[in-house]
Subunit: 159 residues, 4 copies
């Protein structure tokens, strides 16, 4: 079966996040992976745009029950109608999860992906977590470039 | 955007339902439509098999949070993890809904599609509804063949 | 544990449905049962009003993520934010399900309750179902009064 | 309407988390608030136990579609059947959210509560968040005792 990679990130993202997300979309499409995203603006639109520019397939899993505000680069649109609960569906749909940038919604997706426990979770930019003793919480694979993000999923180790 | 058609029906279906679902899948794929289904056995597997046989794209929207029991003919797998609430997501994802055969789960999808109100709902085989006065409840487009089912969606009016 | 009874029915209901729902709410409250409902108008408001008039506890499981439009007689409000998928939650929360009146949304709840398979499903008023051979579909317990509805749940056999 | 407070925390919690959760449950019940929790073990069971010891009302919003593994101190049980998506429902149901201790699931609830944006979010124990510049992310009200937790919700300012 085709590899599906969930790419998460904020609506209101930085220019760097947007550029990173577009590059990740392009790299995933070139490797034949399906991109799963939230289907709206910001990082979601950027990863969709990057993937479509390379002829890739993008699935937008929307919070709304209709297609309103869905981005123009989605190949398939899933209007879940379950609101923020759609974040769980995005995460469950990925063989790996790549998080770009930081926001509360994005953090909830990162946390759900880590809770899931069976998939690689990669973070590029965004927030850091410290435990009660002030040490970084283990588990998330922090990277510093789109190519490193793909490598860290484990599916394309040589990027 | 590509037309997405949700095809619903029971896991435990009749041979006729299965044959109808396979034919509907094939016809939809030939017309370039994306098939949305529940991703498991019975009508779901038959429509997926028909669509894939014609090179079509099939999205399986699963009740489980993982890929267990997912059928072999799905192009894209969405393991929602929301249980039977995934029926709403299947219905919301269709520009039209075609129901093949009858069961309680299938009836819930038909009812949700009718409640949705903005999409054509077509039924081939299965149960009938009477109102308090014993008259058929209006709204569902009953058909008697796969080709009529496609025509009744309104997207392919000439067959 | 306290018995929880889900009472479902349309927003736009008949006066008879409304009066039946109010009476069912009152009877359930008098028997110490918790009423689970959708929390908005029509049958939902009537059953809540009836239960509160007898000092009962009513839980409103809302489709919205906030309390807007929630009825005034709810003891506890659960704004699920999952849209129509909340119908599944209402049904799952009942030790029995009583359906009053008919609409597509109500039918979806009846169908989900029957699909659930492990709980008594009682219908007062509303639509009827025929199978492919034109015979009534088995399973739903049709009744003709609020007292019969309670008796048919099996929890209060002598009403 | 009665104040509803969502209390979140891990299944596998520390003894201190458990003792804090029990005390929070007791204090909330004494103030007439309804406790909303996840309904299983760890912090969820502790807050339920504390609330029931003071005669309070506790709603358990379960991930499963049935009552299996539900704790013994729940007044009302809502078996959502939507899996981890139930975390959103817990958060939406609170007029305030108190998080006790740290885990990925708990962090997802904290993040969803902060994303919600309209309710006070209080944390006792658990993880800390740093932004890209290494500064604490603003918004969460960190406290160091159960009484401070209640005060920080804003509903009982003088505790």
């Amino acid at each position: 079966m085709t590899i599906q990679v969930a790419v998460c990130g904020p609506r209101d993202c930085t220019g760097e996040d947007e550029s990173n997300a577009r590059e990740i979309g392009r790299l995933l499409a070139e490797r034949g992976a399906v991109v799963i995203c939230g289907g709206y603006t910001g990082v979601m639109a950027a990863v969709a745009s990057g993937a479509r520019s390379a002829g890739g397939m993008v699935v937008g899993i929307l919070s709304r029950a209709d297609r309103e505000h869905a981005g123009p680069d989605l190949s398939i649109v899933i209007p879940t109608g379950v609101g923020e609960a759609r974040n769980n569906i995005i995460v469950n749909s990925g063989d790996a999860v790549i998080v770009v940038g930081g926001s509360w919604g994005t953090l909830s997706e990162l946390a759900l992906a880590m809770r899931h426990g069976r998939i690689p979770v990669v973070q590029l930019g965004g927030w850091r977590l410290l435990d009660r003793a002030g040490r970084p919480v283990a588990g998330v694979r922090y990277v510093s470039s789109p190519r490193e993000a793909l490598a860290a999923t484990g599916f394309w180790p040589d990027h």
